[in-house]
Symmetry: C2
Subunit: 251 residues, 2 copies
């Protein structure tokens, strides 16, 4: 199962979801691969890897056609590997423009990996650029984190338009698989309103696990650790653990 | 003074800063223009404008060379006008690739406007794409909002690299003017640590006004109003008002 975690709105919890959901699935014995397709390399550092010391990266996978097995590395977590990002990825959008089949460069190397991994998560950049399109085309389903705030709700229409176009021209199998509500603040009516609107927009496709706003989640990356290893009893950790169980039940 | 509000990290408060800083400057009698250069059009809707009903937009300014005076519209706030964004802007990155002087398309129409506006703020998208580069090249100074969290700090190096390249090849006058600390949570040591690191990274260039995390700020956009008109006594409003005074003192 290749899952692109995408939303062009910035700061909605894409990277936090990729890191923590994949960690809890790996702890449940699933073999998981993370692809960091964001030039910011936050998923790479959030899993404790120094992006400056990386030999091969997602850049090599997409631009140099380096085989997947030569780009992936281990993390500190059993069953969890990553193709790290690298600063060179900033240039990928422009470089891709003149490539043949420029939108499917990431899909090719991932196509035959279902024997090796139970889950592949792609952390997408906050845009609808060629790199972001590549990341969405490579997945067979899209998980959309939506922060429980107004602007994040506003951007959903644009994302749906883009997915429709990808489905029509590039990957007929693609679909918005599930929506995840993030940074939910139970003390505000804004969170409740956004959550209601999202549920009415995506009936039956919103995870019942809701990720609360939790300081521990924003502290964990500064230690290069997923929440399961930084603050396993925190409400953010419990919510991502519940989410992993929900995903396993959907397998 | 043309100020690009930029940071490729998503969700750090770029749009919130553009909307609220420009509103308080306009209330102090300064003539202000906002350029919404983000395809998400959050600055447009945050100032109460329906992006679907917009006749001309930043897209026309950059791609169709429509004169500035034919693209800007009034907001509900005296002294504050905006060039709104539009969904077409999503395609601008790809369209720009083959244009002559593709990086300076936004700078041209803004060059001779210092008689008409005291401040022009450009709300940049969360990326380092051609559209984001255009937005940075168009400014004569860059204001960098940095959320007081780990990932936002991590991305500063990449932004500095890009600004160096812009300065060398496209706009020798460009500089990182000031850094603004946003979403500061006084209850966490993470915010204090990030603030300390940012101050040591940019000695003398961090605004003394610090924007606290405040629910009122995230509620205001759902009413299409700046904080000054939604919750003028809130701590977020007071912080942005202080920031406007600080900016006026630097004029
Ligand atoms: N549930 C949460 N509670 C509190 N903070 C959170 C939560 N989820 C994420 N964060 C923090 O909010 C910020 C944004 O999250 P994150 O970087 O995961 O979003 P993103 O969508 O990947 O951003 P980008 O668009 O830049 O890639 C980060 O500093 C992160 O640590
Ligand atoms: N000081 C604050 N306190 C609480 N919420 C805030 C604050 N500043 C901004 N927000 C909220 O956080 C979210 C991100 O802010 P905003 O959209 O302004 O960031 P941005 O950098 O423009 O994002 P993008 O990278 O997507 O353009 C929004 O929902 C906004 O309402
Ligand atoms: Mg991210
Ligand atoms: Mg914005």
């Amino acid at each position: 199962m290749i899952i692109s975690v995408a939303n062009q709105k910035g700061g909605v919890g894409k990277t936090t979801t990729v890191i923590n959901l994949s960690t809890y699935l790996a702890r449940e014995g699933r073999r998981v691969l993370v692809i960091d397709a964001d030039p910011q390399a936050n998923a790479t550092s959030g899993l404790g890897i120094d992006k400056h010391k990386v030999a091969k990266s997602t850049y090599d996978l997409i631009i140099n056609e380096t085989p997947l097995k030569d780009t992936l590395i281990n993390t500190d977590i059993d069953n969890l590997q990553i193709v790290p990002s690298h600063i060179d990825l900033v240039a990928a959008d422009l470089e891709l423009v003149s490539f043949i089949s420029r939108e499917t460069r990431l899909r090719e190397p991932l196509k035959d990996e279902s024997n090796n991994f139970d889950f592949i998560f792609i952390d997408c950049p906050p845009s609808l650029s060629l790199l972001a399109i590549n990341s969405m085309v490579a997945g067979d389903r899209i998980l959309v984190p939506i922060q429980c705030e107004y602007y994040a709700l506003e951007g959903v229409g644009q994302l749906l338009n883009t997915v429709k176009r990808i489905k029509k021209y590039l990957n007929p199998a693609i679909e918005i698989w599930r929506v995840l509500l993030t940074m939910y603040n139970h003390r505000t009516s804004l969170s409740r309103q956004v959550a209601e609107e999202v549920k009415s927009y995506f009936p039956g496709r919103v995870f019942s696990s809701i990720i609360p706003r939790s300081v521990r989640l924003s502290e964990a990356p500064s230690f290069g650790k997923p929440i399961a290893y930084y603050a396993p009893e925190s409400k953010g950790a419990i919510a991502y653990q519940q989410l992993a169980r929900e995903v396993i039940n959907l397998e």
